[in-house]
Amino acid sequence: MEFFLEVLIGGLLAGVMYSLVALGFVLIYKASGVFNFAQGAMVFFAALTFVGAQEKLGLSLWAALAFSLLLMILLGVLTEKIVLRPLVNQPPISLFMVTIGLTFFVEGLAQLMWGTKVYPLELGIPDEPVATTIESLGLSATNLPTVLQEINSFDLIAAIVAGVLVAGLAIFFQITKIGRALRAVADDHQAALSIGIPLKSIWAIVWSVAGFVALVAGLMWGARNGVQFALTFVALKALPVLILGGFDSVMGAIVGGLIIGALEKLAEVYIGPFFGGGIEIWFAYVAALLFLLIRPEGLFGDKQIDRV
């Protein structure tokens, strides 16, 4: 039982990392109906810019952070202006395919700017069991349950970051004027336009926010696995989370991430050995697919009503 709990908690925390990436997809999909396949490339771009600015430009950690944030916002705004605005009113499939093109372009751009080297990314977060971290702070961890002691500090902090991010986004969406405008646009572009919401600047904001989310995800994933080209595949991990949670629900991204993370780890431990391992490449997809057969719009997605 304890082992089961350990695996489960590990999975849930890993799932949070998926949610971080999935969030970026959801934001853009919600506000503009574009399924932005380039989110993974943006994560890679952000992480590479962050370490590249430190290594090549000699910026300090905070300056590099500000620099990458600025660049992500610029990237987002330019994407919206150059790539997506000319394609307004095109079928969603064209928009999706243009973001596949964007994926390649952003990946190429990032490597052109900062080179193809593999960089380590150091945020100063310990990658060790919680118990060790607590002890290194001079406290005693003996009265914690063993299950909790075994949790990785890094995962825990990633989960906290994701939680703060989601809470921040929720507040942003619910309370601020821009947030309400965003929700209005998400509901109905034309109605929002007709009551005077500036659609163009709203979309630019959404892309900037997605760039910010990509930066956070890039930092966490980069610190975990190092900044390398494989970071772009993170997006592929986030896709089953998306279809499970529903493309247009922030809540879905979080809950979907937790479910996929937990299922994946549990399957790896309990089912994997029967297949000779390596099932995590496809397990999440198949799980999400089976789920979709029951609920085609995902867990929290809006139900689509078709009219002729």
Partner: protein
């Protein structure tokens, strides 16, 4: 002036429904076929056959398969490479397990096997639509190569997962030299392209387009959605399967499951986008473009660097390829969403009047 239909009166329904209704088109196609079957084998070098012409034809076939599914039936699939893998490994196993089976028969059987697999992975399309389906097809993309690696039987227990294909032998004649292999793949691709061209104007093709344009409306006018979508998945996978078998047997000679990765799927999707969504001819244009582009880029970058006496950083070519590929996709979708095929259409319209202004 030279490309006009005026004066070519049709006197029967049969003429009206002919595949190529204008004499000039018939002559043009004849010239292309003569060029492809006679002139190119006489003129081209081995490098051209193995590095350009054979991959071009194989990818054309795969792009054609995907175009039937995505361009005509409107079901976006990101798992093309996986279906090609099924075709390649099915053909290999048919040849291996059934001694003396003619290689063409095993290609067809490989296509049918892939069609069955494709239909299985197409079943979710009955309930899932749009992006959800596109993501769902990724399940095939990741599951199939994994299965091929894990189950040793498929690769005949080869330790590295690499299979080396049997010689391509038809009626005791071994297709070995580049030019023979080229002619074989050209013949297969020509026949299948003709079939596809006819298929999309039959009632199946029309049903596909109706489903693509609006599936609820199609259902209302009495098109069986389930049948139509599953036929689309089946036929498309058949083409991809045969393309995969040719990819293994005629182009590379030895393949491994991991070679059929997501990148290959995307490459084929790009061929469809750049060539023209919903166009048979576009698949060929797109395949030619994507096959030639890296070769040109290589030459331009390396020669340009040599000319300017620059020392290139390692890996710069692949980075430039990413940039140019991505940029072109974006450019095409913005400027000409219907791809090169549409440009060809426009050229034809212009040719009707040329060289006169009106």
């Amino acid at each position: 002036m030279f490309y006009r239909e005026s004066g070519q009166l049709k006197t029967s329904y049969q003429e009206d429904q002919a595949l190529l209704s204008i004499t000039q088109d018939r002559i043009g196609l004849l010239l292309i076929l003569i060029g492809a079957f006679v002139l190119i084998p006489l003129l081209a070098s081995d490098y051209w056959f193995t590095a350009i012409l054979i991959p071009f034809l194989v990818f054309s076939l795969a792009a054609l398969g995907l175009n039937l599914l995505t361009g005509y039936a409107g079901q976006l699939s990101l798992g093309t490479a996986a279906f090609m893998a099924v075709g390649a490994f099915a053909a290999y196993n048919f040849e291996l397990r059934v001694p003396g089976l003619p290689v063409l028969v095993s290609f067809i059987l490989a296509g049918i096997t892939t069609a069955i697999v494709g239909i299985a992975f197409g079943i979710p399309s009955l309930r899932i639509r749009g992006f959800y389906l596109a993501v769902a097809t990724l399940a095939a993309q990741f599951f199939i190569p994994w299965l091929l690696v894990k189950v040793g039987w498929f690769t005949n227990y080869s330790s590295s997962g690499v299979i080396t294909t049997q010689p391509v032998e038809i009626f005791g004649y071994v297709f070995d030299s580049p030019v023979e292999r080229y002619l074989l793949v050209l013949a297969i691709v020509s026949v299948l392209a003709l079939l596809a061209k006819n298929l999309v104007r039959s009632n199946i093709g029309r049903a596909w387009m109706a489903v693509r344009d609006m599936d609820v409306a199609a259902e209302v006018i009495g098109i069986k959605i389930m049948r139509t979508k599953l036929i689309a998945f089946g036929v498309s996978s058949f083409y991809c399967g045969v393309a995969g078998a040719l990819y293994a047997y005629v182009y590379l000679g030895s393949v491994e499951p991991d070679g059929f990765n997501l990148d290959l799927s995307f490459r084929i999707l790009f061929m469809v986008i750049i060539g023209g969504i919903g166009s048979i001819m576009g698949s060929f244009f797109g395949a030619a473009f994507i096959t030639l582009l890296p070769i040109f880029l290589d030459i331009i970058i390396n020669d340009g660097a040599a000319l300017l006496n620059l020392k290139l950083a390692a890996g710069i070519t692949s980075v430039m390829q990413l940039l140019v590929f991505g940029g072109l996709i974006i450019f095409f979708l913005i400027v000409e969403p219907l791809g090169l095929a549409r440009l060809w259409q426009i050229t034809k319209e212009k040719l009707r009047l040329w060289p006169f202004p009106h």
